[in-house]
């Protein structure tokens, strides 16, 4: 492994321009065996986007099937497998690794001013684990598929005859460890690899968000791992801990599952919130409002996420006392979320907003997250939830949060750091158009599902009453529009890779450390020790027309930070 990363002598000798992480070494093996966090991040990003394509295809098939009541394109059994696969792929293969493992891996060490993550080998290993988990998930298709839903609720998941259940359980188990190792790496990196001057409260908010996410990944994911182990043992050896006909307790399974999977919702959304904090500050060129409150609220969300899991079980036979307790605590999650939203809005207020593609995605996020978050309050309310539970209202709610917020945040972040990752600019007009198409398509798809759900259309159903058809048709058309938007975006990125203009080191005017190194960054991230200042003080940057780049005035910056000084 060491020989592969040994730089070619000509690269060391030649001009700095050619020495970036993409050209540092060449060949397939130099990528697949790399220990460079940037390359691992890029490989993660490619894999995640590929999985997104697969999961999205299943979504389109689902929506097409629901165009008419009864059979449209596939049988009920196939439909069950489609929605299960859509859910499992999107959750475990796409959204959970998308921001921390893909963008986080690329950005975190650079933003921090470190040369790499703390454990580069573990980082590569976690990528291989991801590949292994994905392979098992795909293999489960060949082994007969699985129709349990992504939640694998017992006793159905232990009795269903579809052959792919055990492979997918193993796959998700492995993916869980991939996620744990990424989180572990990030916590250690943030603790131990901060350069001099990078104190906790000088860290960009994206790092705070990744740190909070990593806490959840490390503390919650093992519970999922052991739960899946027990499911496998249950299927293979009939151990009976979750099997009511053996005296076991299926509600206990749900406790275990949601002890992981509710925090997992915050593994998805918290890093997206971090990205939005970055995008909104940088693209409105204004000091972030309430820095400390956004930082603290990330940690608060991480902590709250562990004590609200029972709100997924209001209709599952959970006791009345626990229902009341969990309902009460669930409301409290709204507080840190609202703190963030309020601070973002205040940052925008009187800011110098550049309406770039990342900013468009950030604005979409604000809108969609507000809807997703507020409908969450309906669902946290015990008596409303009894009516709305397991209807399309829930489906719409979590798509607003998981897709409309987490995924939109991820794509916004991808646009934001795209010049840094690839060294090329993308077509701004095309990207903005794609964003608008996605936004419109998304709302058509999922807002109608709120109406469907409140009228009683249950989720996961193959067939439905004729009066629901108009909503289903609108929703399906919306999903096609959304797909068109994603394709536009994909074309935009491919075009940028092929023929995009060269990106300057700081195209947006950011101050955090990643904008201080070249685009794409060199192998060791920083040629000279990075200068750590206030990463949201935009008064020190100014536009340089000659190089089409923002220049950070370190003298002005130094004057600003003398108060804090170095250790």
């Amino acid at each position: 492994m060491t020989t592969i990363d040994t730089p070619r002598q000509d690269v060391l000798d030649s001009a700095a321009e050619t020495d970036n992480y993409l050209t540092y070494t060449r060949g397939f093996l130099s990528w697949i065996l790399t220990l460079d966090h940037k390359r691992i991040g890029v490989m993660y990003m490619g894999s995640v986007l590929l999985s997104f394509l697969v999961g999205g295809t299943f979504a389109l098939l689902l929506r097409t099937e629901l165009l008419t009541p009864g059979r449209t394109i596939c049988s009920a059994e196939t439909y069950n497998q489609f929605f299960t696969l859509h859910g499992a792929i999107m959750v475990f293969l796409v959204i959970i690794p998308s921001i921390p493992a893909a963008l986080g891996n690329f950005v975190l060490p650079i933003m921090l001013g470190a040369k790499d993550v703390a454990f580069p080998r573990l980082n590569l290993f976690s990528y291989f684990l991801w590949l292994g988990g994905a392979a098992f998930t795909l293999y489960s298709l060949a082994a007969g598929g699985f129709d349990t839903g992504w939640t694998f609720y017992t006793p159905y998941s232990t009795t269903t005859t579809t052959g792919g259940v055990i492979p997918v359980l193993i796959g998700v188990f492995i993916l869980g460890f991939s996620s744990i190792f990424t989180g572990l790496n990030f916590i250690v990196t943030v603790h131990k690899l901060r350069p001099p001057g990078m104190t906790w409260f000088k860290m960009p908010l994206f790092l705070w968000a990744l740190y909070a996410t990593a806490i959840i990944q490390v503390l919650a994911t093992p519970v999922l791992a052991i739960t899946l182990c027990l499911l496998i043992v249950e299927r293979v050896l009939n151990i009976g801990i979750f099997n009511p006909s053996m005296g076991g307790d299926p509600v206990l399974y749900q406790h275990f599952f949601w002890f992981y999977s509710h925090p997992a919702v915050y593994i998805m959304i918290v890093p997206a919130m971090g990205i939005i904090s970055e995008i909104i500050a940088v693209h409105s060129h204004r000091q972030i409002f309430g820095y400390r409150y956004i930082a603290y609220s990330s940690i608060a969300i991480a902590m709250f996420s562990f004590i609200v899991w029972g709100h997924h079980m209001f209709t599952s036979g959970q006791s009345g006392l626990m229902n009341t307790i969990f309902s009460l605590i669930s409301f409290s999650v709204a507080i840190p979320s609202a703190v963030k939203t309020f601070n973002w809005t205040m940052t925008l207020y009187k800011g110098t907003i550049s309406l770039t593609a990342p900013m468009m995605y950030a604005l979409s996020f604000l809108f969609l997250f507000t809807i997703g978050g507020l409908t969450g309050i309906h669902l946290a309310t015990l008596n409303t939830d009894v009516h709305l539970h397991d209807t399309y209202f829930v489906v719409a709610h979590f798509h607003y949060v998981m897709m409309g917020s987490a995924l939109i945040g991820m794509i916004g972040g991808l646009h934001h750091w795209w010049p840094k990752m690839t060294g090329r600019m993308y077509n701004e007009k095309m990207a903005c158009t794609a964003c608008i198409i996605i936004f419109v398509g998304f709302n058509i798809t999922f807002f109608t599902q709120f109406m469907l759900g409140s009228q009683g259309m249950p989720r996961r159903y193959y067939d439905y009453l004729p009066e629901f058809q108009v909503y289903h048709v609108i929703s399906t058309i919306g999903s096609y529009i959304m797909a068109a938007g994603f394709f536009t975006s994909a074309i935009c990125f491919i075009q940028s890779l092929m023929s995009g203009p060269k990106a300057p080191s700081n195209p947006w005017g950011g101050v955090s450390l990643e904008w201080q190194c070249a685009s794409p960054p060199p192998h060791d991230n920083f040629k000279t020790p990075p200068h750590v200042g206030n990463c949201y003080d935009f008064s020190v940057v100014h536009w340089d027309e000659a190089t089409k780049n923002y220049i950070i005035d370190h003298k002005a910056e130094l004057a600003h930070v003398t108060g804090e000084g170095r250790r």
């Binding site: 901060r194 009976g240 099997n243 006909s245 509600v251 206990l252 406790h255 006791s319 006392l321």
Partner: protein, 146 residues
């Protein structure tokens, strides 16, 4: 919170003791042996306590002794007593999460226990009827039996 760059104190410590390792803390053999002895004695006590009937407190005494043993292992064998406070926080924190999860789950099941079927579970009963029809196993506890 840990102080990631307080390496200076470490270096100073390393300099003052010639035989001290470059990093980490050296725990003397006598301390380690004493810890192990204490653990063995506590193991003996916890076995002995089993034979004294103090009703519901038996389980709490057993858990209490186990916690004492666990903290001995953690503090001396695992060097937590001299380690960075954040490592201690990690350990105590994750244990707290287990306790939290346990408290919620046990509270929940204790609430709905009254509604649960209390006899033999169906699969066990089927097996008994088919494979060991004469086995005098207690079949039902409550009036759910016809």
């Amino acid at each position: 919170m840990s102080t990631p760059h307080s390496t200076a104190t470490h270096d100073a410590a390393a300099g003052s003791h010639a035989d001290h390792p470059l990093v980490g803390h050296l725990v003397p053999i006598s301390t380690l042996v004493a810890t192990a002895s204490a653990l063995l004695v506590l193991t003996f006590i916890t076995v002995a306590v089993r034979y004294i009937d103090i009703g519901e407190f038996n389980v709490w005494v057993a858990i209490g002794i186990a916690v004492v043993k666990a903290s001995l292992v953690a503090s001396f064998f695992m060097h937590l007593r001299w380690d960075r406070p954040f490592n201690l926080l990690v350990f105590v924190g994750c244990t707290a999460f287990v306790v939290l999860m346990m408290a919620f789950c046990v509270l929940d099941t204790s609430q709905y226990r009254a509604t649960q079927y209390t006899g033999n579970p169906p699969l066990a009963q089927e097996t008994l009827d088919a494979k060991a029809p004469a086995a005098p196993v207690a079949r039902f506890k409550t009036g759910l039996d016809p």
